[in-house]
Symmetry: C2
Subunit: 332 residues, 2 copies
């Protein structure tokens, strides 16, 4: 197939990851970057033209972009500029605010259909690969429940959302939060017990916090422990460290996860399905999945399909560079 021309919208960790990932996918070509702060981006990156987000239409036209990978946040960015971009071009994004996915799908579907575009939403590894694996486990092992665990390795998984939440607390200068799966909970699922878990039964939360000068440790700890949704339901540990320690020991974005389902087949024989992934860099992992979906978006668009899609709506063969003949001969 011919080269797919890709625009990257948003130059944060995921945007940088997408640019790096495109280099590892020879059938894909970065043609422009669109950002709210093009001058800041240009200082760091000048391989392709960088445009202000208000000039997105011009950026896509001039660069000949076929697909825009939207690398903004799910809270404020994507609900607003997702549909704006879907008017202009085929899009792929990693909208991950689970409870708002139906609304976001509807908005993107309407706009993409009206403007003759494809919009692949909510992809990455969760939502994304994990959504696919949950759905397949449910289909292939009816009666089982699929569970998601995060942070099974010794370091745990860095949660950006929870790190951001810590930074909103008065007195917190900087912070990072690592999620840990509770091994006994994983074991229960693997044993086929299909347990009912409360949120705090599956994971613990470990916080590394740098205080503002003169901030009150006790008050900050209390604010963390009592934060509803984020920390209150969990066994949470708070460690106060220096900025230097945070920057050196906790600088990366490691994450990992497991989808596990166990049940029985046919006449009651035990069966277990697990999908495991371990990422040195969470944003680069998300970026790799986004790029494979940009390939799929270009193919769907070439078939004159329009509207919103998720990973569940797209055959696996659309994600790969392999031809149908190659897949039959070597990948089945």
């Amino acid at each position: 197939m011919s080269q797919v021309k890709v625009a990257v919208v948003g130059y944060g960790n995921v945007g940088r990851g997408v640019i790096a990932s495109l280099k590892n996918n020879p059938d894909m070509e970065l043609v422009c970057v669109v950002s709210r702060s093009p001058e800041r981006v240009k200082k760091e990156f000048s391989a392709v033209p960088v445009f202000h987000v208000s000039e997105a239409e011009k950026a896509f036209e001039r660069s000949g972009a076929q697909v825009a990978i939207l690398c903004g946040g799910s809270k404020d960015d994507l609900p607003k500029f997702g549909p704006q971009m879907a008017k202009l071009i085929n899009t792929v994004d990693s909208f991950d605010n689970h409870i708002h996915i139906p609304d976001y799908f509807a908005a993107m579907d309407k706009t993409a259909k009206e403007h003759g575009h494809v919009s692949v939403i909510s992809t990455g590894w969760d939502p994304g690969i994990f959504s696919l694996e949950r759905t397949l486990a449910g289909a292939f092992l009816p009666g089982s429940r699929a569970y998601g665990f995060y942070g099974l390795g010794p370091a745990g998984g860095l949660s950006m959302g929870h790190s951001d939440a810590l930074r909103t607390i008065p007195g917190v200068k900087d912070a990072r939060q690592y999620t840990h799966a509770i091994p006994s909970a994983v074991k229960k699922v693997q044993n086929g017990e299909n347990p009912d878990f409360a949120p705090g039964d599956m994971h613990t939360r470990e916080c590394f916090v740098v205080l503002e000068e003169g901030a009150d440790k006790v008050a900050v700890t209390k604010a963390i422990m009592e934060m509803p949704g984020y920390f209150a339901p969990y066994d949470t540990t708070v460690n106060f460290i220096t900025q230097e320690e945070l920057n050196t020991k906790y600088a990366g974005f490691p994450h990992d996860g497991l989808v596990a389902a166990a049940g029985v087949t046919g006449k009651g024989n035990p069966a277990r399905i697990e999908y495991r992934c371990v990422w040195g860099s969470n944003p680069e992992a998300t970026a790799n999945v986004l790029v494979a979906h940009a390939r799929a978006a270009a193919r769907l668009a070439a078939e004159k399909r329009t509207g919103a899609f998720t990973i569940l709506d797209i055959p696996a063969s659309y994600f790969t560079t392999k031809s149908h003949d190659e897949l039959l001969a070597h990948w089945m």
Copy 2:
């Protein structure tokens, strides 16, 4: 969606597994069985009409079957009666002779298209789920290689093909072969070494053999060890046991496997993807996957699609009973 009416063609281990699996899928209904030995089947099973294979057309018409799940062997049965059935009805099968998949696909595709049917071929857990996971790992982790291991649990995995091969040796009355993954080989893959393996580097083979009276242990052992393809390239162990021991200790069909791929993302951060499954009953596992594909075949047929498909050509949403709204709200 309305009930999918299913015919089962072939009443061996997989056929029995499919009948058991259909009971666990309330949207699917068994409507007839087609067999080469209907009288033998009727002795064991009388819940639905049983027809001789020469009466398949009548069987499908009378029962109103929409999809036939073909449960025959890949060596002799499917190449012959697969295309015959694809003339009459939508089909799903587990053709697993990897090197002949392109030819089988072509034959089924031609016949299914000519007769306006859908034929989903080569599904189960390998080929099938593992094909999907290999393809996704390749797409999401470009540059990595996906490896398949079998028999990682302590019991190993029972290989029907290798058990059959043992039974062809003069002097062997009965036999079962268990495949074991070599742990150090799995470790190499998980470490991201992307090693070049010869077949014997990944698995060992453990044989449990019952001799005919008066057969020569040494000659049988030599015949096993030197069997090209099946045993010669492997570290093979041969255990002679009694029929009673075989029947009691080695009666089931356990199997398990792992698809593993490791590489790097973006700027060189390590990444690892693994899919693991553990089955108390291999034929029941295959049956569950076949039944989910029968659901997909019915949907593809309802969309007026025709021709051959593999798991790589079908979106995940086609395998599940969940509606699009349910998937968006609860499975993403």
